[in-house]
Symmetry: C2
Subunit: 332 residues, 2 copies
């Protein structure tokens, strides 16, 4: 699963050879036109396609000491699948633009392809890589486009109405706890990330290990996106930057206020501010109930002075992650 | 068109602010769901979507001394539109993943958005940016996904048959001549790219200036993609890496040999090896004639020992560009 140990650098291989090595690891195409032509052609029953792109960049988004090629492929797929699910859609295809340094090992690239395939197979069966692009870059960069199809209308983030319940499927704060473990335990005295030695990983408490897993290989509840749409979700989005920050985006778009329930969510600040779990945050008419896999975490109120409340009161912690505000290449 | 002179660095702005500044420059969305939600929702009449991704990376793909933000936006759009056109499809939407250093000026980003819009308006009216992603990176990287729709069947690269004519719409070698001008005239003694001062540009011969324009702001004949499909093209692809190299890919996929006609193409090697013009290379049944905008440049033969011939003889020059073989960051 993690490459066959071929340490050859991609710079010593032709583009066609690197491409072949990747394609050999991917699921066979089921599209009318799959990889190998100028563009893929994908069936889109219903006449609408859902499309999103998200990029993982070495430095701000991952560290190679912490993430294997497999982990990166998995995560690049998972975060994009979550954006498709958050529209109430079913993911059907990925396009992968991979820009990498010449000294990248081919077995790293193969492991990345394995991770892409494994995430699709586990989280969105039937979805496969149907196209992509290879480029040389000084900075390892993985831009994934995900495409999906809809059974009914898309679930936007602007449809929440006062009286709706707020529900969450998936984790809140778990991936952020994992990132904290990586920063605290897997950097040397100078702050440089250190590899995740199995013996060190084995010493983590179960909750810490679960956090690291969630940070490196998130498992958003992709199938619950279409379930939410079928159950009549009025609004939905994926929680990528933190529950309060993303809830404020939903309430801003819907011109409402979201009141989160601390009796359900607890009082750990990371639950409210931690990003990267890619849980599905949705609102449903109160009478409808929420589908299995979602838990009610609050309610929608008429718009007030604050977009998000916690237990009816202003939330005064950090709401979440803004890459332009929070990332500093010098201090990491 | 080239930014309003705001030198603020994106690292000093929030992601939401940078996004707003970009969206203000783009054409209004006509999609069912445009920018601002987890994913875009696009209408796809006919139930099939054509999708491709291509990435421009600082260093191998462009130099900031030579390309303005506007140029980069234009080129990133144009090269992807060409891939959609090469399937016989009409481009309808772009998704733009922009990864850039914190010290990137906001007016550079605005100019890039202007270039994306201008290329769509000029080359593929009705196509617009409908989604994207912003990330911090040490290496300026622009990954564009283009989506399109089909009236009939897609034109693949594997349908050429012996007896077909080979036709080209667009330039061959012009962009490569422009790159040579940039390398020859706009680098200092140490080989470092120098800015394109208007006085220096004004001293170029017309053919040189045209080459530079084609290199920085290519104008592939996007509308001729659907015209070729309607005229019965049996195979088509865009010429991104050089006429002989890309023709060999088409003939390999089709299991034929392509014989290019030097009486039409001339004997300048750059015509055969120069990439980045993004012309459309297509084959048509001989009896059908070729649509306006295409010129016949050769014929399809039964598969022989060579995939590409020039005037019936083996081509012994360099066929084109392979980024893994040809790019060297040290000598660039």
């Amino acid at each position: 699963m993690r490459g066959d140990g071929d340490e050859t650098r991609v710079g010593a291989l032709s583009e066609a050879h690197v491409l072949r090595r990747i394609l050999d690891r991917l699921a066979p195409s089921t599209a009318p036109v799959g990889p190998g032509d100028d563009a893929a052609v994908l069936a889109v029953p219903g006449g609408r396609v859902v499309a999103t792109v998200d990029t993982l960049v070495h430095g701000p988004d991952f560290r190679l000491a912490w993430s294997s090629g497999y982990d990166l492929g998995w995560k690049a797929a998972a975060v994009n699948l979550a954006d498709i699910a958050a529209m109430g859609a079913r993911p059907t295809a990925l396009l992968v633009a991979l820009a990498m340094p010449d000294d990248t090992r081919i077995d790293f690239v193969e492991a990345l392809a394995d991770g892409l395939r494994a995430a699709c197979d586990a989280l969105a069966p039937g979805c496969a890589v149907e196209g992509g692009d290879l480029t040389v870059s000084d900075t390892l960069t993985i831009a994934v486009t995900a495409l999906g199809v809809l059974d009914g209308d898309p679930v936007r983030r602007d449809g929440a109405r006062p009286g709706d319940v707020v529900a969450l499927a998936g984790d809140a704060g778990v991936a952020a706890r994992g990132l904290a473990v990586l920063f605290d335990r897997f950097r040397d005295a100078a702050g440089v990330p250190m590899c995740l030695e199995p013996t060190a990983l084995a010493q983590l408490a179960p909750a810490e290990a679960r956090g690291v897993d969630a940070q490196l290989r998130p498992r958003p509840p992709i199938a619950l996106g279409t379930a939410a749409a079928a159950a009549g979700a009025t609004a939905m989005m994926d929680v990528s930057d933190g529950l309060v920050l993303d809830a404020s985006r939903l309430s801003e778009a819907s011109d409402v206020t979201v009141d989160l329930d601390p009796a359900v969510l607890g009082d750990d600040p990371v639950v409210y501010s931690g990003g990267e779990d890619h849980a599905l945050l949705a609102t449903f008419p109160a009478a409808a109930g929420v589908p299995a896999g979602f838990r009610v975490i609050g309610s929608v109120r008429a718009a007030g002075a604050d977009r998000v409340l916690v237990g009816g009161r202003r939330f005064d912690g950090r709401g979440g992650w803004d890459p332009y505000r929070d990332w500093d290449a010098a201090t990491g």
